[in-house]
């Protein structure tokens, strides 16, 4: 039997706000989290701006024991813990438990361990001091580090999965958690993803010449999805997390319900037909969106808002074309579309989960967040979407259904359909 799945808690560490109240305020008011980073100038990077959360490392002591805190170095783990534990608390449940929570599992994604933290490890080993590394390195170097810290803190006893699919990681994690509940394997899943773009990963992206490099002196203008002057993305860091629950299970405990996750899809374009390691095969993207719509039992024309991947590269117009083809909608029927990346940059693995938290907030609070920096919309996009449907300011309106998609290196796609919860 197919179980209905609702979202009962959300948490976020975003470049423009840590915690839901700050984040909601930021996305309603178009507040940018992009800053100039002096260190990137010193390192001769072409792009010298990034979305870095204001994150008080010491605040982790409010979430984990001081023993766990001592020796914790992985920035991505810190972000993931705060987003996940905030989502859990938001859902109305205590952190502590004696018994494992057998009914609850976790799917949390990330890319790689914090390379800056690992630099110290490399130096010690090369200096023949491996015996001084201690017990805390492996658990933070392993890809399942974030998931393990979260699951251990909350005592989860169901499926514990770490996923990784580059920029599709976050929405894929959410979908995998959804499927565990829908198919009856778990009653509750904590899902999300975390990313810390450390200097080395940032440098590697910089070398690919895919980053925004013409707005170093105007950081807040640097991330320009769907704009004619979009010249590359701005790397960002953070984490997003959601508590997904079997509807019946949530109702039994009178949990707050933000929205319903109707379904979704994840697939690949096979790195064929124009798809490569770094570019999506449009046919794969279209199939993914159509499959998500079909799985969710909705019609494309009922979508109120598309929360795009839309990173601010030349791929933006192709993405809009793909949405148009997949949904069979074009001007004037193409729905409203926005990209959170205009405010926070592209948080890679974390993008899907932070953007899904934003989508849930828009459904729950009936608004469409602005696309900042879209004073010069790309004319090819305006061939398909009406100007008023690419809002530069927040629009207050009823938002019943949001389609949220992300596309990642490796030609991996994922798409979620989020709806207002209705009995």
């Amino acid at each position: 039997m197919r179980r209905r799945v609702v979202i009962t808690g959300i948490g976020v560490v975003s470049p423009n706000g840590t915690g839901i109240p700050a984040f909601l305020n930021a996305i309603q008011n178009g507040i940018s989290g992009i800053k100039f980073i002096e260190r990137y100038r010193e390192l001769n990077f072409s792009c010298q701006v990034a979305g870095m959360p204001d994150f008080e490392w010491e605040s982790l002591k409010n979430y984990i024991s001081e023993v766990t805190f001592h020796g914790l170095r992985g920035t991505n783990i810190g972000y993931g813990l705060v987003a996940a534990l905030d989502a859990w608390k938001d859902s109305g449940m205590p952190y502590d438990t004696e018994e494992p929570r057998w009914e609850t599992g976790c799917v949390f994604g990330n890319s790689i361990a914090d390379t800056e933290a690992m630099k110290n490890v490399i130096a010690k080993v090369d200096n023949k001091e491996a015996r001084k590394l201690g017990s805390r390195v492996v658990e933070q170097a392993m890809n399942s580090g974030v998931t393990s810290y979260i699951s251990g803190r909350l005592g989860f006893g169901n499926k514990i999965i770490t996923n990784s699919a580059a920029c599709a990681t976050g929405s894929q994690a959410i979908l995998m958690g959804y499927e565990c509940i829908k198919d009856g394997y778990a009653r509750r899943m904590l899902v999300g993803s975390a990313e810390h773009v450390d200097t080395y990963v940032y440098g590697a992206f910089d070398s690919m010449r895919v980053l925004s490099r013409k707005f170093n002196d105007q950081p807040e203008k640097a991330s320009r999805p769907m704009s004619a002057t979009a010249g590359g993305f701005v790397p960002g860091s953070g984490a997003g997390a959601l508590v997904l629950e079997d509807l019946e299970f949530a109702l039994q405990r009178n949990a707050p319900i933000y929205a319903e996750l109707l379904g979704g899809s994840t697939n690949s374009g096979g790195q064929r037909m124009g798809g490569t390691m770094t570019a999506p095969n449009s046919t794969g993207v279209i199939r993914c969106i159509r499959d998500a719509v079909e799985q969710s039992g909705i019609k494309g024309k009922t979508i109120d808002l598309i929360s795009g991947h839309l990173t601010a590269t030349i791929a933006d117009k192709t993405e809009i074309q793909n949405w148009s083809t997949a949904l069979g909608l074009s001007k004037p029927n193409f729905p409203m579309v926005n990209s959170l990346k205009s405010m926070v940059g592209h948080s890679l693995s974390a993008a899907g989960s932070i953007e899904t938290v934003a989508a849930v907030l828009q459904v729950a609070n009936d608004f469409v967040h602005p696309n900042i920096n879209i004073e010069d919309p790309n004319p090819e996009i305006l061939n398909l979407v009406s100007l008023e449907n690419v809002p530069a300011k927040m629009i207050k309106k009823e938002v019943n259904i949001v389609a949220k998609a992300n596309f990642g290196f490796g030609d991996v796609n994922s798409c979620l359909i989020i709806s207002k919860y209705k009995q």
Binding site: E66, V67, S135
Partner: protein, 85 residues
């Protein structure tokens, strides 16, 4: 260093690895690191590494295996300090 001096310093070394600060203040030779102070067994390695740095000594694997309670910790540290002297 007297045993009391080593004990006082050892408390500081152990402190980050136990949440039971009350018990830590009153530890004696018989206090077991794992059972009484509830230290995660994986963290014993970290305590040994921190102790090595603190006292500028080297604690070999066989000596480290003996460090299960406060008394044996002091024995080993004291022995290594004497070897150095």
């Amino acid at each position: 260093m007297t045993r009391q001096e080593i004990l006082d310093e050892l408390k500081k070394v152990i402190s980050p690895y136990t949440t039971n600060k009350e018990l830590l203040a009153s530890i004696d030779d018989q206090t077991d690191l794992l059972k009484d102070l509830k230290i995660n067994s994986a963290n014993l390695v970290d305590i040994i590494i921190d102790a090595e740095a603190k006292y500028d000594i080297e604690i070999d694997y066989d000596s480290a295996d003996k460090m299960v309670n406060v008394g044996t910790c002091i024995d080993v540290i004291s022995e290594k300090l004497n070897q150095k002297a």
